[in-house]
Structure formats: C-alpha cells, structure tokens
Subunit: 146 residues, 2 copies
DNA sequence: TGTAGATACTTGAGCAACTCAACTATTGAG
DNA sequence: CTCAATAGTTGAGTTGCTCAAGTATCTACA
C-alpha cells in the first residue's frame, strides 16, 4: 500500500492543474467568441457544425436538451451564420447548414482558438505528445461511479 | 520548423483531452454537491472556506463579483452551514465562519470528491507524478494574450 | 389500413450563476 | 475634516440550462 496522504496530495494537485488548464483554454475560447460577437454557447455550437446535420445531432454532441439547441441556433440564425433546412425525407427534422459567413466565422474561431491553445502548450515542447498520451489513458477510463 | 498540420492536430487532441478530464472531474464534483443538497457554486464556495475569512477573499478566490458571493453565501447560511460574523476591527467586513455542520459537510465534500478524482487518475499508476509535472509546466505559463 | 407509440422540434416556465450599476456604511489618508 | 477607496448588499438584466407540454410527423404492428 502506498503513502495515503501523499497520494491524496498528488490527486489534489492533479485536479487543480486540470481545472486550471481547462480554465485557461475556456477563457481563451470565450474571448475569441466575444470578439466575433458570439456567446460561448453559440461559439461552441458553431465549431461543432461541419456538414448539414439535424438539430438533434447537435444536442447529442453538446449533451444538452434539444430545447436548449433551439435557442442557441435562433441566435446563430439571427446573426446569419446558420440556416434551418427542412429534411424532405423526414419533415420533423431540420438540418443546420452553415452560411458562407457562418463558415468563415467558424474557421476563424477554430483557427484562433487553436493558436491560443498552441501558445498555452508551447512551453512543453516535444513533451506535448507525452502529455497527450497520459491524458488519453485518463480519458480511456469508463465513467467511474454511477 | 516542425510539421504544422500534425502539430495542429496534436494541439486539438490536447485541448479535447483537457476539457474531457476537467468535465469528468466537474461532473463528479457536482454530483456529490447535489447529494449534499448544494448547488455547484455553493459547494465550490464551501470547499474554499477554511478558517474565517472576509467575503471579499472568497470573491477573489472564486474570481467573481462580490455581489455574486452575497447570493451564494445566503444559500449556505440558509442551510446553516456558514455564518456571517462582523469584524470588530473593521465594521465593513463580515467574516465567513463554518458551522459544525458546515465543517462536517465540507469535509465530506472534499473527501468524496477526492475519492472520485483518485478513481479517475488511478489508471495512470505511478505516471501520475509525470502528468502532474507536465501540467505544472503548462500552469507556469503567464496568461498568454491580453 | 388504422392506430399507438416514438421522435424532432418548439414554447414557456423556472432556476442557477453570473455581471453591472447604484447604494449604504465604514475606513483611511491628506 | 473631508474625500476617495473599500466591503457588502440590492436590483436589474443576461446566459445557459432543464423540465413539461404541445405540435407535427414518422414507424410498427395488428
């Protein structure tokens, strides 16, 4: 059995550091979103819109209620970044399609967010692959506790 | 110069993994908070209350507006977990003091949250120290971009 | 075919968590 | 003594979310 208090301390440190890194990344993302006139949720939806896809799919990706997506997409549509296109094969479904401007804004968002992330991880140098591998092990765990 | 597209891909992976790990940790924390009848913000405030401290300090720790703390502490006080004690030396200040029940609930929260975090990081084995060291490098960076 | 149950989306009510501006009470510095 | 700064509160407003209910449509099966 290993040293329990030291173990505890390590887990606390890990938790704090993960939250800190995520916080920096999110803060950067939100700042760019704001520059582009988007709320964080709208920006998050936008970067997850590649091809045309039903609204339901977006709700699944964002793992939130469908009614939430309605509001977020309303905002994107009002800004002319996205349109709802009815699916002829299933008239319940509306596909979300990026407009030209929406596509442009989405690319800008991902590019700039990536640049910020790049800057954040730059200090690691080649160890970045190592960090990824370690985090991948954590990610591979099934959701613990019901 | 290194391979730009591959670099980009790595940064995207790192970003996703950090968000995923943070998401799991937060989800676990919020679940425990809910079990204890606390909202996430209340739980976060509670774990950051050690000794008696001015409300201002808590606002700084949580890096949020002072008026936000007022509401959160109202909730904790209504649940009997915390009391406001006026500072005799500076009558503008109110110190937040944990009640016995508040202390108990706080310990429970930290203990259980730690157990969940422990479970999340368990798959790493001894590599946990390595992960911490890498994340510490990231954390050491000054906030990039103004 | 007809109908019962599932599914996609919307609407409305409501809550949590936040910010900002304005206010009161108090303190500290000149 | 006065004036700017600070601690805390209040109220208005926003965002992001959930849940319940409703409409329209689809699917399966008896």
């Amino acid at each position: 059995m290993s040293d329990a208090p030291a173990d505890d301390q390590l887990v606390v440190e890990l938790t704090d550091l993960v939250f800190l890194a995520a916080g920096r990344l999110r803060q950067g993302f939100n700042a760019i979103a704001a520059e582009l006139g988007l709320t964080p949720a709208q920006a998050l939806a936008l970067v997850n819109l590649r091809g045309p896809a039903p609204m339901r799919d977006l709700a699944d990706i964002l793992s939130c209620d469908a009614s939430n997506v309605t509001g977020i997409v309303d905002g994107l549509e009002k800004r002319g970044l996205v349109t709802r296109r009815p699916d002829p094969a299933d008239r319940r479904v509306k596909h979300l399609v990026l407009t030209t401007e929406g596509s442009r804004r989405r690319d800008q968002l991902t590019t700039e967010a990536n640049a910020r992330a790049e800057a954040l991880f730059a200090a690691l140098g080649p160890d970045r692959t190592h960090l990824r591998d370690l985090l991948a092990v954590v990610a591979a765990r099934q959701d613990p506790q019901p």
